[in-house]
Amino acid sequence: MDKLWLIIQREYLTRVKKKSFILITLLSPILFVALFTIPVLVTVFSEKEKKSLVVRDDSGIFVPPVDSTANVSFVLAPEELPELKRTYKLRGFDGLLHIPAFQGNSGNLKLGYYSEKQLSLSVVSFIEKQVAEQVEAKKIKDAGYSEDVLNSFKTDIGIEQEELAFNDQGELVETGKKSSAELATAIGFIAGFIIYIVLIFYGAMIMRSVMEEKTNRIVEVIISSVRPFQLMMGKILGVSAVGLTQMLIWMGMTFLLSTLMTAFLGVDATAMQPATMPGQAIPPEELASQTSKFMEVLTSQNWGYILPLFLFYFVGGYFIYASLFAAVGASMGDDMGESQSLSLVAMAPIILSIILISPVVENPTSSLARWMSIFPLSSPVLMPARLAFEPPLWEVLLSMVLLAGSAVFFVWLSGRIYRVGVLLYGKKATLKEMVKWTFSKE
């Protein structure tokens, strides 16, 4: 037992002390935060592209909007087009906009723009929107309606879901629990992806490390001191501690960075929007109500149920795949290149799971979703993806029992393959040989 502990310590310390580990661990959250903050910072701090345009309006409908915050300002000019083309620059404008005359019922209007410089996409859509609104208003007026009447036709639709429950007597019990398909979908995707990435990343790490010990020829030295199973378990547990350390550091840094950001920038990281387009900003009060609604749904999720189960699937999946990857690593020859096909055997079920995550989350009650989240090789990814949709208890329990049993089975199986595989040098093992090793004597 104390030897297992020694192995865990070595596996842990050699990885954690590596420069690459420290670098990746420290830089990843910074990169991640940067991914979200830089667009915001760009819009907050960058000098806005202010344009002032002179407008020649042949249709006679355009009224320059009076909005000082807008990035584009319009000034009507009475001169003819050729005259304006010559003089717009001298008069201090950035460009000349020409609105041609048009028929009242025309569905198509081409504006002309003359300038030395091209317009950016956002300015183009801003101008189009301004003109379109005024054209629409004119058409409504021409047709004899008032704008109020038209606005009254518009209705903003949104579905607010509330969960109901029935007690044993079949009576309705109000839960007051708000649910949201969007949120459940988001939770499903995030949970599934986190587990997928961890399984692939740390699985590959274990596989590489087993292969390294084999090609270095140190493995026989080590297993003349400890059982091969101890070496394998020590590696699996040591690497899991590395992963845990990384997660904890990331969680700590995320908390620290978001606190700092809120304090210094006055930007709430949780409510941050990707870069907003000019003219499309959501009014602050609407944003606030959206955010509070989001928070309400978020907090009404059953985290006390989801998080421990997430952890369970995380651990179960880790043991299955870590041991499988260890067995594959032990069966490899000295040639790293030919290892690909064998590692695909361990990889295939995880890749299949991540391909299925989208159909499962979109249709969490389908029989595909049900059975793939019960099947132990895909359940570590697919059951957490379904948890926010609250699958039936029997499915969760069955899936958990199968996962726990399979984890024990795969650790045992891989231990058998590992013990023979690490001592065979030179050539890659075939699947048939691996099966034979499983049942061979010690």
Binding site: L6, N216, R217, E220, S224
Partner: protein
């Protein structure tokens, strides 16, 4: 008091249909350098892996220092496999401490033993170096220290000189001798016969999973001697001597030297008496004992034949 460090009785190990070790029985006395010889694929490594507890025998019994072999014994054994190596990215001091602790030493004991070996090999400056910063020869020294650090009762060296440059081979050889003098029992497995004659007191010869021959080196040679003698002489050799003779037959006739085989019942004195009588001026007279290599080839050839 147990006189044998290791006793093996009817040890069998098969992989599928292949019998790697087939009823091997022999004893290894304490404090000797014991040569385990055999061609490649004879089953030496399989046997060693059983002794080091890496695999288990299918049948048969093994005692280490009088106790049936068990899972605590690896701490008393030092094993340098033929396929050996170290963690390349780990520092020498850290790595040796780790390997010693896996053999049951405490951190303090490991440090103390390492102090001794680092001083002995004059390599104190290597402590913080990574293994892949060392030359091949330096790595071999580190590997040797890793094998003997925990003061094993039984040291098993599988082809210890393969890949060693002559300087390191000499160094390791003298270390092996010194450890043997201090009472460590050593199994030295090889297919290189000349090393065996230089180093070993006892040998066992393994072929096709069986032990075909064992004993003290001198005694084995006596057993396999063919009563060959080499005679150097001055003067001319009379013609009668060259003819077939009832006392001896001539195996080889070189310039000023004869190799003869004694006839059944004849003694060395008979030969000398005869030669002197013939007026041959004998300068030297030596018995030719077979080399281990000759014995090996003869025995293996025989077993191949049967």
């Amino acid at each position: 008091m147990e006189n044998n460090i290791l006793r093996m009785q009817g040890v069998v190990k098969s992989y599928g249909d292949f019998k790697a070790v087939d009823h091997v029985t022999f004893d290894i006395p304490k404090g000797v350098i014991f040569g385990m010889l055999g061609p490649n694929g004879a089953g030496k490594t399989s046997l060693i892996r059983i002794i080091t507890n890496i695999t288990k025998a299918d049948a048969g019994q093994i005692w280490l220092d009088g106790e049936p072999l068990n899972s605590r014994h690896p701490e008393q054994i030092g094993y340098m496999p033929e396929e050996r190596g170290l963690y390349k990215k780990m520092k020498v001091g850290e790595q040796l401490t780790y390997l010693a602790r896996l053999k049951g030493l405490s951190a303090a004991q490991a440090r103390q033993e390492l102090g001794y070996w680092f001083k002995r090999f004059d390599i104190a400056s290597w402590w913080d170096k990574k293994v892949d910063e060392l030359s091949k020869g330096m790595q071999q020294k580190v590997q040797f220290i890793a094998t003997v650090l925990h003061k094993p009762k039984l040291l098993i060296l599988d082809e210890p000189f393969s890949g060693l440059d002559p300087i390191n081979a000499n160094l390791i050889e003298s270390e092996i001798r010194e450890l043997a003098q201090k009472g460590t029992s050593i199994i030295f497995s090889t297919h290189r016969m000349e090393q065996v004659e230089e180093l070993c007191d006892h040998i066992v010869l393994i072929n096709k999973g069986r032990n075909v021959l064992e004993g003290r080196v001198g005694e084995v040679k006596q057993r396999f001697k063919e009563n060959l003698f080499r005679i150097e002489y001055g003067s001319e050799l009379p013609n009668e001597v060259e003819a077939a003779h009832s006392i001896f037959s001539i195996k080889k006739n070189e310039e000023q030297a004869l190799t003869v085989q004694l006839a059944e019942g004849a003694s060395t004195n008979d030969v000398l008496r005869y030669l002197i009588h013939q007026g041959v001026e004998v300068r030297s007279f030596n018995e030719l004992l077979p080399s281990i290599n000759d014995i090996f080839i003869r025995r293996v050839g025989e077993t191949v034949g049967s």
